[in-house]
Symmetry: C2
Subunit: 147 residues, 2 copies
């Protein structure tokens, strides 16, 4: 299973790079991962369309108005996709101005990390940590119990 982390950002803060790299590295035994940044939401959607032309990729948009999951519910959702043979999932964090309507219409899931607004760089960390946590829950790995 391939997990693609897409962002729309004009600048990249160094503050969280180490934490994000740590969670992506820990994901390696569970899934192939990739990170891409796009200058605009339109450029991101064009890449998703191209991706979907080749494979049944799922598009998950991070959105504070989206669906709230507990870590266990999120793991159950991810497990269903994995066990159903989903080849890849795109997790996309949008521009500061929010997602254009066009993006929402194309999404398979609007996922909320909580009702509080997070800076995009911090949302990247929380997302990467939750995806890693989901795989440890699926694997019965003690990580989730330790926190």
């Amino acid at each position: 299973m391939k997990l693609l982390f897409f962002t729309v950002s004009r600048e990249r803060a160094a503050l969280y790079e180490q934490a994000i790299a740590l969670y992506l590295k820990r994901l390696q035994p569970f899934a192939q991962t990739g990170e891409w940044n796009f200058p605009t939401a339109e450029a991101l959607l064009a890449k998703v369309a191209q991706q979907r032309g080749r494979t049944k990729s799922l598009l998950v948009l991070l959105d504070s108005q989206g669906k709230l999951f507990s870590s266990e519910e999120f793991a159950a959702w991810l497990q269903r996709e994995r066990d159903g043979g989903r080849p890849s999932i795109v997790f996309a964090i949008g521009p500061a101005s929010g997602w254009p309507e066009e993006a929402r219409n194309q999404a398979d899931l609007l996922l909320s990390l909580g009702p509080m607004t997070l800076p995009h760089e911090l949302a990247r960390v929380v997302l990467a940590e939750q995806v890693y946590r989901a795989f440890t829950i699926m694997a019965g790995h003690p990580y989730h119990l330790g926190h």
Copy 2:
């Protein structure tokens, strides 16, 4: 107004220290801040009791089953406390095993950062960022609009 960030943790990860220091520094124009770590929830509660003996300190426990606020609602809550003359607020992040019942009974507010379980170190970052964000919302500072 004094904001005290209390944690219960046996180890301290260096991964997020820079981010937490950044938000506490940015809070300086708005409030006096302090950070304390305790080996146990009981030690933390003893410090809170001592604190409350001196001043009308509010105790906010972070708890994933607690109250969910949007950033704007959290700012409105903090503004009411500040404008009502609250001298200090303790924000406390509990042990990995969760808060003992005794701690919940003493809390003025159980605050949830979202239904997903975060590692304690990451919860510290999100809390510090949200408290900073709340003060920028109160001050009409553009930080909140930029994300």
